[in-house]
Subunit: 216 residues, 2 copies
DNA sequence: TAGATTGTTAATCGATTAACAATC
DNA sequence: TAGATTGTTAATCGATTAACAATC
């Protein structure tokens, strides 16, 4: 199963564009005006060839003489990827992981807006965590519909994962950032981004200790 | 740049084996004795073909009649991936993210052992967080050497990321689970697993809101 | 100019899927 | 047996890299 969109942009390309954008913003802040694919490649840990492919993919053109204009390229990438800025998001689950995500929003204040967090524990409902209102799970569907929410962060206990996803999807959510250790079964057209710390730990242990991981 | 090891096991395969293992352990606990590739595939969100490929890769054989024996297959996967159980890990940085990771260890108690956490704030050094001793960054190298640590979790502020990685590598660490938003530059043979919540958010927003993500 | 870089196509590489004989 | 499944090879698909003409 692959994810694609109309323009052929894959999740991997989006990830790399984000990395380029961070580097470009950094360069811009330092007053650097131009950058070569080689330098962008270095910042993102990829090849210059791939950088040029990615930039070709968003239709931006550089100069063979000076490389890419920092501000212009940043703008071009932002035009492609900047939907994140307008995204309004909800969080389901305010356990340890949920609270870490709330903190992430409070600290890094990504431009996307965290509208509300949902929680089944009625003692928490009605309060606020890191400035975000905690609503009861019963209000989930109404909130998604009324506020036209298209994206949700799922951080509920494992045994509620699929049920939570089902409710989100039927309420109208189009993409889920899944922090549960389960793989979610969703209809076609719904995007799921899995984040699995347990697997990341095992992978690092495997390649670090015994797998003799080798970059080739 | 790809990561490979002697036996050809890629990070993706390891990730899927972990998912199969979780499902198998669940089945085992429920007293189920046999499982088909179709069911394993469903649990991990992949195709039965891929499941059979992965299982072939670890050298386990099933039966065309009953599928795979749950306990035996779990054991075979565990034999491949179970190095994680013996891994001893250190954490660098005890900010918000670092503390979330400490909580993760305390709650999910993965079998790998979190030996110590390192912190530059001298007011925290000497105390314990979630049962884990907090040491000063000056003790990093000695600890890695004396305790033969091969894996580290990097959760320092962005501007200390590369420096932290350099110190870890030169002290002898072989793999890094990187929670900073930077891509680390490490020598060949060192494995880095990147976890980037910011990018995950942007991806989900992109494919949920405007990218019209479609599973194909 | 000479040298370095981009844009873009072609080649390569790896990962996934399909197909099907063998099996029970 | 008939039907379903595995093991395994071949085909497909996608992503990455290499190559090189065009450019300045």
């Amino acid at each position: 199963m692959r994810t694609r969109n109309a323009t052929g942009t894959s999740p991997r390309v989006i990830g790399r564009l984000c990395l380029y954008l961070r580097f470009l913003q950094d360069l811009g802040a330092r007053g650097v005006g131009w950058v070569y694919s080689r330098e962008l490649a270095w910042s993102a840990g990829v090849t210059p060839s791939q950088v040029r492919q990615d930039i070709m993919g968003i239709g931006y053109q550089g100069s063979a003489q000076h490389g890419y204009e920092v501000d212009k390229l940043a703008e071009a990438i932002h035009e492609k990827v900047g939907v994140a800025d307008e995204a309004r998001v909800i969080l389901i689950g305010t356990g340890n992981l949920g609270r870490a995500i709330l903190q992430f929003f409070q600290r890094n204040h990504p431009r996307m807006e965290l509208v509300a967090a949902f929680e089944s524990d009625i003692f928490l409902v009605g309060s606020r965590l890191h400035g975000i209102p905690i609503l009861g799970l019963g209000e989930l569907e109404a909130t998604v519909r009324d506020q036209d929410i298209r994206m949700a962060i799922l951080a509920v206990p494992e045994n509620e994962a699929q049920n939570g996803a089902d409710r989100l999807v039927s309420a109208g959510v189009r993409s889920i950032l899944n922090f549960t250790p389960n793989r979610l079964h969703v209809p076609e057209g719904i995007y799921v981004e899995d984040t699995d710390i347990g697997i990341s730990l095992v992978r690092a242990a495997f390649f670090g200790c015994c797998g003799k991981g080798v970059k080739v």
